[in-house]
């Protein structure tokens, strides 16, 4: 199932998981140790993050390690560019107001 990237950050636990694995790749058990929720809950979050393609899995020996998809995080930056746009619009409006006031 293809999910929207913004679903990934809609949940505080998933944001915390993203922050954790941004530093180093981790196994589901190591990730779960950081939370008070059940392992099942953490693996459900990991499933959603995987479906959003924000994290990738890698098999190392018997363990599966989760790490962050850096390219995907860049989509978030494009999102922030829209936030920049609102300020641009706002300031352009202020430019017009200022030039009107100066007359």
């Amino acid at each position: 199932m293809r999910r929207d990237i913004f679903q990934a950050i809609a949940d505080p636990t998933r944001r915390a998981i993203i922050t954790l694995i941004a530093m180093q790749s981790m196994t589901p058990n190591a990730i779960a140790d950081n939370f008070h929720t059940t392992r099942q809950a953490v693996s459900k979050h990991l499933k959603i993050l995987t479906e959003c393609q924000l994290v990738k899995q890698e098999q190392q020996g018997r363990e599966i390690y989760y790490s962050l998809e850096i390219e995907k995080m860049k989509e978030m930056d494009n999102w922030l560019a829209q936030f920049r746009k609102i300020w641009e619009t706002r300031f352009n409006q202020l430019d017009n107001v200022l030039s009107t006031l100066k007359k």
């Binding site: 936030f83 300020w87 300031f91 409006q93 202020l94 107001v97 200022l98 030039s99 009107t100």
Partner: protein, 166 residues
């Protein structure tokens, strides 16, 4: 438009801070008025086709601006800005929160620092926005995103025409 004027916009997600710098081709006193007088603020604060509607504003330390961003469908998003410190024509600081229409605050909020300086006939405004919570920052960004998208779709010529008629 106004490509010769400085515009800097950076988001520091780690420190939950947004930095904005912008120059304006006007005297400092005029720019100061545009940020501190409700009748001027409402002319530009909301990106078209949103409207800024100030219910009341007491620009003094401890005073508040209680206002709404109104969507084209008439949906009001109320906000409260409390002025925590004011140094006329230099600096002021606000604490911003979303609220309901009865002025009940939705905490946490964000700290906004405004600095004004003038050089070579241009006025530079520096804004630092610090969010107590990352969730709040994302909510703010998400809200801005919706407005921003709507604003992009708006015909710019129409905007210019309506402003010059005022």
């Amino acid at each position: 438009m106004n490509n010769d004027l400085l515009f800097d916009f950076t988001v520091d997600k780690e420190n939950k801070t947004v930095y904005i710098h912008r120059e304006f081709a006007a005297d400092l006193s005029l720019v100061w008025d545009a940020y501190t007088k409700p009748e001027i603020l409402d002319l530009w604060w909301a990106p078209k086709p949103f409207l800024s509607k100030t219910k009341y504003m007491n620009f003094e330390e401890g005073g508040r601006r209680f206002f709404a961003m109104v969507s084209p469908e008439g949906v009001e998003r109320w906000m409260v800005q409390t002025y925590s410190s004011i140094d006329p024509k230099n600096h002021f600081k606000t604490y911003n929160t979303f609220s309901d229409k009865d002025e009940n605050l939705e905490l946490p909020g964000s700290d906004w620092n405004y600095h004004f300086s003038e050089e070579n006939g241009k006025t530079k405004v520096s804004i630092t926005i610090y969010n107590e919570s990352r969730e709040r920052m994302e909510k703010q960004i998400e809200f801005g995103f919706k407005e921003g998208m709507t604003a992009i779709l708006e015909n710019l010529q129409e905007l210019l025409a309506s402003l010059s008629q005022k």
